[in-house]
Symmetry: C2
Subunit: 394 residues, 2 copies
DNA sequence: GGTGATTTGTTGTACCGTAGAACATATTAG
DNA sequence: CTAATATGTTCTACGGTACAACAAATCACC
């Protein structure tokens, strides 16, 4: 017996598509779980175990997955082999930052194999960033020889048009209308896609991190260059018409606030800023862990006041987002997670009163789990997307 | 050749599901378009024309659709019969208002066959509303005898849990935690579902109204009891975890604003209100058309000032929503459409500066098209959902 | 430590649904 | 009136999954 399957759009479905779809579902499950037994696959897909056998056999044939010895499960019955992602398959993740270009080699299952951070002494141009990324990929050549490269994904701190991977605006890098995906694809000859970094972080946390198994969540990240976010609704990442969705940082939180670079005033992004925290704890430059340690170590009244002030504004933005999207989960990343770590009860109390009662009672707040690998894993999702959609074409 | 088909979740797919899916796709197209030729169906679904023939034949057999004479199309080639929704199939729509219960009989294709409005002299209890609705359905009995009733849908001015159709809060009716879907289902013995009225209006406008063919839109409605809204993202209605999504009325628009019944302060819903407009044009009670006529007829400075004030706040809420969701289209309904009719340029100018540039340049604002039938059509969508998902089971 | 119960892999067959080809039919263009 | 074109109709082929029967590997129990 096979259950449910609710495909979309106005498209029909033929046997060809059934095969493609089923291969895609299975490879997707193997990817997300990093290892499932064949018997679990039969249960989760609703397909017959003979069908699972042929489908898995095709994926093994194509060297996309491996079947390994069943683990001692203390279960009655014949043990079922575990299907794991092939270690051959890999994607490249690129993340340009203000002062560095990070390039990573990521295996199926979101496993970061290697990672090269190239610091830059100035904020690079897109051309420079592409050259640096290409050089880093060159460095990876020995590793690449052992892998099958299926794509490149770029996590950009700015607005990226989903359709063609053009950066419309990366304010802190000063990039405007730059076709970064096309440029990298030209340089690497590997299919390349680009998207907003926070959206990719959202996908990563949703698949491998704090949002596993949750269909409706909001991710909000606080970084050095500001606040970004992403949305998963009904289990799907929400990109909007062009790919610019998720900009929770430009929610109004203070009518009397300062003008924001976006053109409006009183945005979350203008009120809640990392620099202010750094200044208060006497750091000029620090990573998230150091900042959080300093905040927790020095709970002076001034620090607490600022933390509360920022949480007040965060709560206002979250109230709006909760009312609009009714998420089950809010995932906080970067220094927003630190703010929450310093005063969890304070934020919880605010969120227990501001949003509509029905929506607020079912929402949980947690911190992100993937840490420094977040954007590598997220960008790699973009790289894997084509493969996961149609495993048989590879 | 058949193209694309991207089903969801971790479910597999077998021949049984293919058939169900294809029937569902075709009935859905016939429903949405209110009439498609078989040749159009082959093109839009990508299925072979022999397959379309058998699928349509099954739907005809089940009396869900009819094939009618092709219309003179001036096209070369053999004319293709037009597939239209069967006039037999109908759903019941229920919409409780503050001073009336509206019940309608709606045919497949969103065609409102009959509509009964039962005025109440006081704000009814849920029990009263159900009794009144049941009585109205009784009145429809002669019509019902000629139709096949596939479901009941209820559009509730409040938060409704999607799972079981329990009203969590309908503030203006004073209803809390009322299992209205179950109550109506008991009274009618017809499968019944309930949802928020603005969400259903969103679906209706998206399928039959201003949002046809648009995959990412926001609908915002201004009614006597406040502001509601709904979201379509990636072509799908967004309900959130429990079904409470779309509450754009409780976005912060004024930090110095008044407390709102929702628990927060400065909500759009507290600043932008229909009563204020009614008072300024000297009406105590008027429908949307009368209010709009009065606003357009009497553009006194005071009226213009209030219209601008309300549009200022609406723009702030839309800016936040646009930044979060990047819609292609914003559909305004109720008195919000009237505000826009009075000063379209004013709102357009605000929206041309406040949201992020990339998002604002691709968004259009239009008014809703379905008028007084909006909620009947929307609620009927709920009634039809089961049928459209699996036509063969009926 | 053997035996039965249980679960799952394996193999071969049946069935279902769609695709495709060939032919029929209805329209337009000239 | 004829050719071109598009679509309906019919029949056959093919692909993919389900199912049944059997084999294999584990656990539970005595």
């Amino acid at each position: 017996m096979t259950t449910g399957d609710a495909p979309n759009a106005g498209r029909g479905n033929s046997s060809d598509h059934v095969r493609r779809h089923n291969l895609s579902v299975i490879l997707g499950l193997v990817h997300r779980t990093r290892g499932v037994s064949r018997s679990q696959l039969t249960r989760q897909t609703g397909l017959n175990r003979s069908t699972i056998a042929t489908l898995v056999a095709e994926l093994v044939e194509r060297e996309l997955v491996l079947e390994i010895e069943p683990d001692a499960s203390n279960q009655v019955g014949r043990p079922s082999p575990v299907v794991v992602p092939s270690r051959l398959v890999a994607g490249i993740a690129i993340n340009p930052e203000l002062d560095a270009i990070v390039v990573g080699l990521v295996g199926l299952g979101g496993n970061v194999i290697r990672r090269i951070r190239t610091a830059t002494d100035h904020s690079p141009s897109v051309q420079e960033a592409v050259v640096i990324a290409a050089a880093a990929i060159e460095q990876l050549r020995p590793d690449l020889a052992e892998h099958r490269l299926v794509g490149v994904g770029i996590a950009v701190p700015g607005l990226v048009r989903a359709e063609d991977g053009v950066i419309r605006l990366a304010p802190h890098l000063g990039w405007v209308d730059e076709p970064i995906a096309a440029m990298v694809e030209t340089a690497t000859s590997v299919p390349t896609r680009a998207a907003n970094d926070a959206q990719l972080g959202t996908m990563a946390e949703s698949i491998f991190g704090a949002g596993r198994g949750v269909t409706d969540l909001i991710y909000v990240n606080g970084g050095a260059s500001g606040i970004g976010g992403g949305i998963i609704a009904g289990g799907e990442p929400i990109g909007g018409g062009a790919g610019y969705a998720g900009e929770l940082g430009h929610t109004l939180v203070n009518s009397d606030g300062l003008p924001c670079h976006c053109g409006a005033t009183g945005c979350l992004d203008t009120e809640v800023r990392r620099e202010r925290l750094l200044a208060l704890v006497g750091l000029s430059d620090a990573d998230d862990d150091a900042l959080e340690a300093a905040l927790l170590a020095a709970p002076s009244p001034v620090v607490i006041a600022e933390v509360h002030r920022q949480l007040d504004y965060l709560a206002v933005a979250l109230r709006t987002a909760i009312n609009i999207l009714n998420p089950e989960l809010i995932v906080l990343g970067g220094f927003l997670a630190s703010l929450y770590a310093v005063a969890p009860d304070y934020l919880d109390r605010l969120l227990a009163t501001q949003p509509l009662a029905a929506s607020r009672e079912s929402v949980r707040v947690v911190r992100a789990q993937l840490g420094s690998n977040l954007l590598m894993i997220g960008a790699a999702e973009l790289a894997f997307e084509g493969l996961l959609a149609d495993p048989a074409s590879w």
